[in-house]
């Protein structure tokens, strides 16, 4: 990757709770290249959505504890919601998990789009042609603009939000679990449209957040695997799937049932145990308790190092 769109350096975002700080994102560093689709995979509670959200908007409970985020060479003021507002929608955009709730139910979609554009100081008729072109690209009839969100199916809403989020050609698009509520055939269409948008330069780079490793394998250029608030591994897609270096990634891949694997012939195994609480995370490697390879050295936090070209892992056994 020649140029880098997004650079995240040692980012820490914690949640304030009554019982203390939940260290949901604890020192995360990575880059996203120009034109790259990066898949961010992990189990629930690993911090992947927190990472996505903190790049665009910290909600009331989230606190920026440390680290920096740079987009196109400019530092993003992620802790300052007011200043971030100038970046949102134009430079950084998000497709939220539930497109159903992202559309205003009391407005016809066309009017809602116009209001949104005007709130950003963009004249709606100036981009109308572009809007129609993109609707056609994702297979939506222009007449959806005259309809209310309730009249659209889940997949149609998801595609509508996708067109809307990318209308101003943002540098970075965050797609947070956008396909998890969809059927397999719609899922495929939405995921492929996302790649198509990148190919047409509607968005420069995309972070595709999902819990489904086999889905991200289909469309991403590289994959980041997160575990308990830290990055476990990052590598080009094929390298990550065919030669994973972190034991967590390996176990995750071997726990996936595929068409063709049968219980009777080959028994897959899950990962015993459960992720540690991030309220008071253990020292050292956070996967240590569930890891079959753990040894004394794991009491010390492994750094996130390059183990092969473009292939990073945080495991003492991988170096």
């Amino acid at each position: 990757m020649s140029t880098v769109t997004l650079k995240v350096d040692n980012l820490k975002v914690w949640y304030r709770t009554l019982r203390g700080d939940v260290q949901a994102l604890d020192g995360v560093s990575f880059g996203v290249g120009d034109g790259e689709v990066v898949g961010l995979a992990g189990e629930s509670g690993c911090g992947k959505s927190t990472l996505g959200k903190s790049l665009i908007r910290l909600d009331g409970r989230m606190r920026h504890v440390g680290g920096t985020v740079e987009l196109d060479g400019k530092e993003l003021p992620i802790a300052d919601s007011g200043r971030m507002s100038g970046f949102r929608f134009k430079e950084v955009s998000i497709i939220p998990q539930y497109a159903m709730s992202a559309l205003n139910p009391t407005r016809r979609i066309g009017r809602m789009v116009a209001e949104l554009l005007e709130s950003r100081g963009v004249r709606a008729d100036g981009v109308h042609q572009e809007l129609l072109r993109r609707l056609e690209l994702v297979g939506l009839d222009p007449e959806v603009l005259d309809r209310y969100p309730i009249e659209l199916s889940g997949g149609m809403k998801q595609r509508m939000v996708m067109v809307l989020s990318t209308l101003l050609n943002p540098s970075l698009l965050i797609a947070d679990e956008i396909t998890s509520a969809l059927d397999v055939s719609t899922q495929k269409a939405v995921a492929e449209a996302l790649v198509d948008f990148r190919d047409r330069h509607y968005v420069k780079s995309t972070i595709f957040i999902t819990h489904d490793l086999s889905l991200v394998y289909q469309i991403a250029d590289s994959i980041i695997v997160m575990y308990a608030g830290k990055l476990a591994e990052k590598a080009p897609t094929d390298a990550l799937v065919s030669s994973p270096r972190h034991p967590y990634t390996r176990m995750l891949i071997s726990a996936l049932p595929e068409v063709g694997v049968r219980f009777g012939t080959r028994r897959l195994r899950g990962i015993p145990g459960s992720p540690p609480s991030l309220l008071d995370p253990p020292t050292g490697c956070r996967f240590r308790d569930r890891c079959p390879l753990a040894f004394e050295k794991c009491a010390e936090q492994p750094p996130f190092l390059e183990v092969a070209p473009d292939h990073f892992a945080a495991c003492w056994k991988a170096f």
Partner: protein
């Protein structure tokens, strides 16, 4: 054991019920002891409606559902209670099956009154522990805890344990693992596999073809309320005959095999049932 014959379900929709919406159309299938039948379909295909009809949570419009050659729809009172001792369901969202005010094991305790009156405390406790161990939960870890203290996988396994307390013969598992993480998902699947080996019949309802394939002996593919293909699982997944099954299989994301990206068109979703 369980047999569905030309079962249909329709709803009256629109103002004054002027329109009829057919959710399930003449579906026939059967589940034998120790057999896992996967009922696979996309949302709106009627797969959950079938599960709910079997569990008597909704009525049948036409056709018959019979369990051991007796019509399920006719069960009342005591006979219905014994039917539920044979047939139980577990559903998608384990978090909404528990009352957050009470301890999680209350779902198990509630069975004691109607089904095991007069069983002494000690034997009940042994029975509880045996069923929790059967789903590989450590009784010490889960008993006496509130739902928020347990993980999704633990809560879901506890619901299976509840079904097992009754020594059921048929389990209707409606999307029971789609809410779980990949690392715990396979544990619940393996658990079902072990139960099947002990003679339990399972109707495994899912939208995920790869999960359906891992466990099942028979696969039934539903599309808009109708069975489009059914047969031995390896044949349905290996040499699918119906174009709908083929297109579904081609859309499933799989590791080590990328999608065929030549077909770039976005399919128009089939008409949404209001």
């Amino acid at each position: 054991m369980l047999r569905l014959e030309r079962v249909s379900k329709s709803y009256r929709v629109g103002t004054f019920g002027g329109r009829e919406l057919v959710a399930v159309r003449e579906v026939s299938l059967q589940v034998r002891p120790g057999e896992v039948v996967s009922l696979i379909g996309e949302s709106g295909s009627g797969k959950s409606t079938i599960g709910r009809m079997i569990l008597r949570l909704t009525s049948v419009t036409s056709g018959t559902i019979s369990f051991e050659d007796r019509d399920v729809a006719a069960f009342k009172g005591d006979r219905l209670r014994t039917y539920y001792a044979d047939v139980q369901g577990v559903f998608q969202d384990p978090f909404s099956c528990y009352n957050p005010v009470f301890k999680a094991d209350r779902v198990l305790e509630l069975l004691r009154g109607p089904y095991f009156p007069g069983m002494d405390g000690r034997r009940w406790r042994d029975k509880l522990e045996a069923s929790l161990e059967a789903v590989r939960l450590d009784p010490g870890q889960v008993l006496g805890k509130y739902p928020h203290q347990l993980s999704g996988g633990q809560l879901q396994r506890m619901l299976v344990a509840r079904a097992l307390l009754l020594d059921i013969r048929l389990l209707v598992a409606d999307e029971i693992i789609s809410m779980l993480d990949a690392s715990t998902r396979i544990d619940v699947l393996n658990l079902l596999g072990d139960l099947k080996a002990r003679g339990l019949g399972i109707l495994f309802i899912t939208h995920d073809l790869s999960l359906g394939n891992y466990l099942s002996d028979t696969a039934v593919i539903l599309h808009r309320g109708q069975v489009v293909e059914s047969g031995p699982a390896d044949r349905v997944f290996g040499q699918p005959e119906h174009p709908y099954t083929r297109s579904l299989l081609a859309s499933v994301p799989q590791l080590h095999r990328k999608w065929d990206r030549r077909s770039h068109a976005v399919p128009e979703p089939a008409g949404e049932g209001g």
